[in-house]
Symmetry: C2
């Protein structure tokens, strides 16, 4: 059976088609379509009309190759199911909106190897900049970024060494501040509930800072519980139950994020545990969801929107790496005491 060659009758349109349809050189068409250089109104109108009629869509691949510039910003984050990251994205999009730059999102699932792959893939499109979460990367990833010749912004965390610029908060300090507030409120037998993900360095740093803060007051974490996967709200419930059944004497639980904290809170309300007198609770992130709970959980805002905005501003305002030295922007999270920490005594 002979193979019939498929004639591609649907070749997509090129500048040349618009040029022919409008009787204007390709170069001028290109100028019109990009709003570059002076073109007479008459010519401009003819070109625009022809392009619209034909349904021409420019080819950015060719454009990017010729101009050596691409209006893409690579944004690499660990996850989309943790609402924190979509919020950072919102901040980034807001700022990039009116710069002609476009964010392109890659997700790593908290895997350094996956991060390396995604980064490689994205760099191969020669973006104008990279924004990525965290300061911990494989050596290869660091090397790629250092050699890319474009601005790199590491976000969400400032506790460590940056490749170029960095925008975020100190999670270590956030944990410590929370510990101090708790101790000041008179809590003494303190437990921790968190995620098990070995690569969530920010959660780890918060816990370390927290433990350190307790240590300053001569206290320590009495017990802790870790999880991975599943509904965070449900896990919060379950782990709180497990922790309290093991250590009914605890008077405070610090959660590594608001979702599991909310689960713990709902559990306590169910069981009639007196919050915050008998047991205090606190989470982290300041997620919107908390507003809808029966009792407002204590938390600390991670400045997600602001982090996104500042990172995008750096990319938008900077030429190639090295043009200006990397910036370091540390934001300060606010403690929102809510109703689950009793007043300091």
């Amino acid at each position: 059976m002979a193979t019939v060659p498929r004639i591609d009758t649907r070749r997509t349109l090129t500048l040349r088609d618009v040029s022919e349809a409008s009787g204007v050189s390709e170069m001028t068409v290109s100028r019109v379509l990009r709003n570059r250089g002076d073109v007479s109104t008459a010519t401009r109108d003819r070109v625009l009309k022809a392009a619209k009629t034909l349904g021409y869509v420019p080819n950015k691949i060719a454009g990017g190759l010729a101009s050596q510039r691409v209006n893409l910003v690579a944004v690499i984050i660990p996850s989309l199911s943790n609402m924190v990251f979509p919020e950072v994205l919102t901040g980034i999009s807001e700022v990039l909106e009116d710069t002609g730059l476009q964010p392109v999102v890659g997700v790593t699932n908290y895997s350094p190897e996956r991060e390396e792959t995604v980064l490689y893939e994205m760099l191969s499109w020669r973006p104008s900049g990279v924004i990525l979460a965290g300061l911990e990367h494989t050596d290869a990833a660091r090397a790629m970024m250092a050699n890319a010749g474009i601005p790199i912004v590491e976000i969400m965390d400032v506790d460590g060494e940056a490749v170029d610029s960095v925008v975020g908060i100190s999670h270590r300090r956030a944990g410590m501040e929370m510990a101090k507030a708790i101790v000041a409120a008179g809590y003494r037998r303190i437990g921790f509930v968190g995620t098990m993900m070995p690569h969530d360095h920010r959660a780890r740093k918060r816990m370390e800072g927290f433990a350190e803060g307790l240590a300053l007051a001569g206290l320590r974490l009495e017990d802790s519980e870790f999880y991975s996967g599943g509904s965070a709200l449900l896990k919060g419930r379950e782990m709180t139950e497990a922790l309290l059944s093991r250590r009914p004497d605890l008077d405070f639980i610090y959660y590594s994020n608001d979702m599991i904290g909310a689960g713990g809170l709902l559990y306590c309300l169910d069981k009639g545990i007196d919050v915050p007198s008998r047991l205090g609770l606190a989470g982290f992130n300041g997620v919107e969801l908390l507003d809808g709970l029966p009792v407002k959980l204590a938390t600390m805002d991670a400045c997600r929107l602001e982090v996104g905005r500042r990172a995008a501003e750096i990319i938008a305002g900077k030429g190639p790496t090295g043009a200006t030295p990397g910036q370091r922007i540390e934001l300060t999270p606010r403690l929102e005491p809510g109703e689950t920490i009793r007043a300091p005594r």
Copy 2:
């Protein structure tokens, strides 16, 4: 003040550099890097070593232009803050993972104009396919998709006319099924709480189907309440309160999504309203969060993961548009009665 020309000493590496470093032709280097064609192990090793040593990152812009193929799939969704969409994305990523195709996400904020812009932008990168939410688009957007010469999959909704392929559920039917279940359970004075977004066609269709289902039993929506923006959980509380204070005689509330439904549920629990005897409740989507609530909210699963998977499979398995006719895959959402609808009588 004279402008000092910035010498770009950091030119990024090209195939030629690898070619020179390894003493092998550019073409062969290209073959090695893409795993195409036969190359001797010795040559391959030399090339790989040179590429790695130099830190070469291929230029996909040039590659795409030369090969006329790009391994990108445009995914266009209304929002990232509604957890539904990240879940669809997960399904898409899962399938694309081992096809060499890469999803690129664009967000429209439920604006048809923005959708058109995003689509245009994405098509200008000549992706291998497009997956986008919904069946309602501007005429220009439809035209672009019809002319793109690549597979297009519209997802999440099947109530309408598709450009090419479609994968989703019938929201109209989902609403109707819920109405029937509620009527069968003996509820008679029914209210609705939903989003105001004029462009959330799926929510609209659910409500229409719901009203239609009630009509079949000679019933109608007694009252309704709409919102936009803010914490969905909190809005659910507030709107439930507003609705019930206006119509304390209602015996059921249908929510347009699980988040506001959960808010309503928490409100009822707070107020000691007897659910489901005195008042029944139901939401929509089957979000994971519900597992953590004190009482399981009735809902209907929107098959988000499955929708994403099937859509990606269509793109991955298909050549240019027209090669095969568009597919139509309608999934059937399950009613999950939870604990907020009383048993049918």
